[in-house]
Amino acid sequence: MSERETMEYDVVVVGAGPAGLSFAIRLKQLQPDTSVCVIEKASTIGAQILSGAVIEPQPLDALLPGWRDHPPPICVPAADDEFWLLSKTGGRKLPVPPGMNNHGNFIVSLGAMCAWLAPQAEALGVDVFPGFAAADTIYNEDGSVAGVRIGDMGVAKDGSHKSGYTQGIDIRAKVTVLAEGARGSLTKQLIKRFRLDADSDPQGYSIGIKELWQVPAGRVTPGKIVHSVGWPADSRTYGGSFLYHLDGDRIALGYVSGLDYTDPNYQPWEAFQQWKNHPMVKPLLEGGSILSGGARAIVTGGYQSLPKVEMPGALLIGDTAGLLNVPKIKGTHQAIRSGMLAAEHLVAHDLKPAGFDAKLRGSEVMAELKKVRNIKPGFKKGLWFGMVNAAWETAVGGASPWTLKNKADWSMLHKLGQQEEPKRDYVQRELPPRDRLAAVYFAATEHDEDQPVHLQIADTSVCVTKCAEEYGNPCTRFCPANVYEIVDDEAGKRLQINAANCVHCKTCDIKDPYQIINWVTPEGGSGPNYQNL
């Protein structure tokens, strides 16, 4: 085999999301002669970005003063906030929690915003490369991170090389910045290799499922923001909805389920669809059509789960570090801030990561997380305890002398029959999509079928034996894209992985109770093609 090609940069960034792009922009602003490239696995910038998204604009003001004069394509000033406790047939309006007061914020499409940020980075001389997946990290002889290896293209399912086989190149850099988003696949390796989580709690996650709707004229109040808790979640499952009124008769809506749920029969996708049929939501959507839809993991561990964010040759920023603020349900401002901090740190320290961890922990990014550190863990004891605890923590500004512990999401799953299953008071659904396969269509996800399966399962023999008995194959339920199916054919029962359906949400990697599913990057450019999510 020929020698692998190499490109050299001062800095390589993995992931063209808000953190990675803000980092690159800030770095070029401060030190224009530093060479930096951003690698993005999506075929185009923003195509694999999904968020609510209501954003706090202050970090953007600091990064790009004057951005308000040429805002991203979807950018609606926040107007009224509402917070509801839903029952199956009605609801009660609650006072809006202070963290969810969005006065001065903007509703955006984070995908569209990243597509808007990327050319601004390029104008400063950043090389942005969509369609290339950073498949692996490479190391120097002293063990420090030396850069990333781009995945090969044109490999067949059985690992053989197809006619168009193209070997991925190595990108070597003085420093590698991981901005992969929640549960980054390289970050996961690096956390293990450098034991970055030795002093922190396990990371926690939720799954957010979102759709963008075009509805008949006259129903939308641009800027209106509605959140809810309660139905269809039972009181032990952490779940809530968002519904944002955009312009152009469009509504962005979604449902977030804590992946610390205990019932192996719980289906996050079904909960979302149920909520859409609530009498307060359904009339908004009826007669409308879905423009786009998808899912992603949300990082929720916060303060006590934040791993060390530096290692020799590399650092972590944004959601892959775990900086999202759960009570605010916002991570974009934290992503931008951490990206800017990282750039400022590297410029001040000759591109050396050492000291960034302390810098981040001493910054407002961490102060914000510390204040709210006990709110999400409180919901482990149910919705009511969680809300009272949240009110207390908010009242004292997070000054409680204790810090509640986080546990790994996968360890929370009860075995079948171990607990009484919550009664799911579900309705007959009428709004589209009918099922998960119909929903995947709206994610426009695309993977060449003849490529190695990017969902690596260490041992599939447990699927039809141990897992079927203990948990009833929860992968067939937590996956929002119906990737996992147990089929029964001549060969007997077996797991079938429909990898081409995958929307890259990483839920399986997080929630699988045996921790044997490893999500790796498929061929570059594969995966969902979200539009304005």
Binding site: T44, F129, G164, T166, N529
Partner: protein
């Protein structure tokens, strides 16, 4: 031999097309745009001919607005030597495109023009044929195999009866079918190299092409939605329902 390759930018084939609410077109704002897949095949074939030593230069041609440059850079990253960008903010119909190509052909004197058999946005399947007629040179459409030797193109075409092999004297226009080849993946270092390759920019108005639209689009509409089905309990009920509809 120089090869001119038509390289059109269209809404990506993975995008779910949405018709504008007022029916005047499809939504292209914020939508992923890519090379027309048949044009990628045309470019790949041109590059292979260059690699075989048959062609010496491959030139990609795009007609469109100022931001088409990024798209042409992709063609250069794939391997084209240079690009020609005819700048216009107006939508271009097949006859206008063919006339524009004719002007470029007169200037560039290529030995071969390779184009996709059609673009996946308007599916017109006309530009190659029109160019051949205007240029008064042979055309070979829907090529699934292409061989160049002794000043002739031998083209295999997939037709209803099987495979048809025709010979065309060069220079000629050849349009490409899906099975001609599989376009290569773009390599990162080639994206960097493409940044320094030349793109000639020509204002459409300066070419003196008559830009008269012969087609008027009256309305765009999404396909009618399938109406809701009826659930039946058993085969007997199904038979009864079919009979009632006069289908049995």
């Amino acid at each position: 031999m120089k090869i001119l390759v038509g390289y059109k930018r269209v809404v990506d084939y993975n995008v779910r097309i949405q018709v504008k609410p007022d029916g005047t077109g499809v939504v292209t704002d914020g939508v992923k745009l890519s090379a027309n897949p048949f044009d990628d095949i045309a470019l790949e074939e041109a590059l292979r001919l260059r690699e075989k030593g048959i062609a010496t230069e491959v030139v990609v041609v795009g007609i469109g607005p100022a931001d088409l440059t990024a798209h042409l850079r992709n063609g250069l990253a794939m391997g084209a030597n240079r690009a020609i960008h005819v700048v216009t903010s107006e939508a271009v119909q097949p006859l206008t495109a063919a006339r524009t190509f004719l002007k470029l052909v007169e200037k560039e004197q290529p030995g071969l023009v390779l184009m996709g058999k059609q673009a996946i946005d308007d599916d017109a399947n006309q530009t190659g044929q029109m160019l051949a007629a205007l240029w008064d040179r042979p055309q070979a459409t829907f090529a699934s195999k292409l061989e160049i030797a002794d000043g002739k193109a031998t083209v295999t075409r997939e037709v209803d009866a099987g495979l048809e092999v025709i010979e065309a004297e060069l220079p000629a226009v050849v349009t490409t079918d899906l099975r001609l080849n599989e376009p290569r993946f773009i390599k990162l270092p080639d994206i960097m190299k493409a940044k320094s390759k030349p793109i000639d920019t020509i204002e459409f108005a300066s070419l003196g092409v008559e830009a008269h639209d012969h087609l008027t689009t009256t309305r765009y509409a999404a396909p009618a939605k399938r109406s809701k089905g009826v659930m039946v309990k058993d085969a007997a009920e199904l038979v009864a329902a079919l009979k009632q509809k006069g289908l049995l």
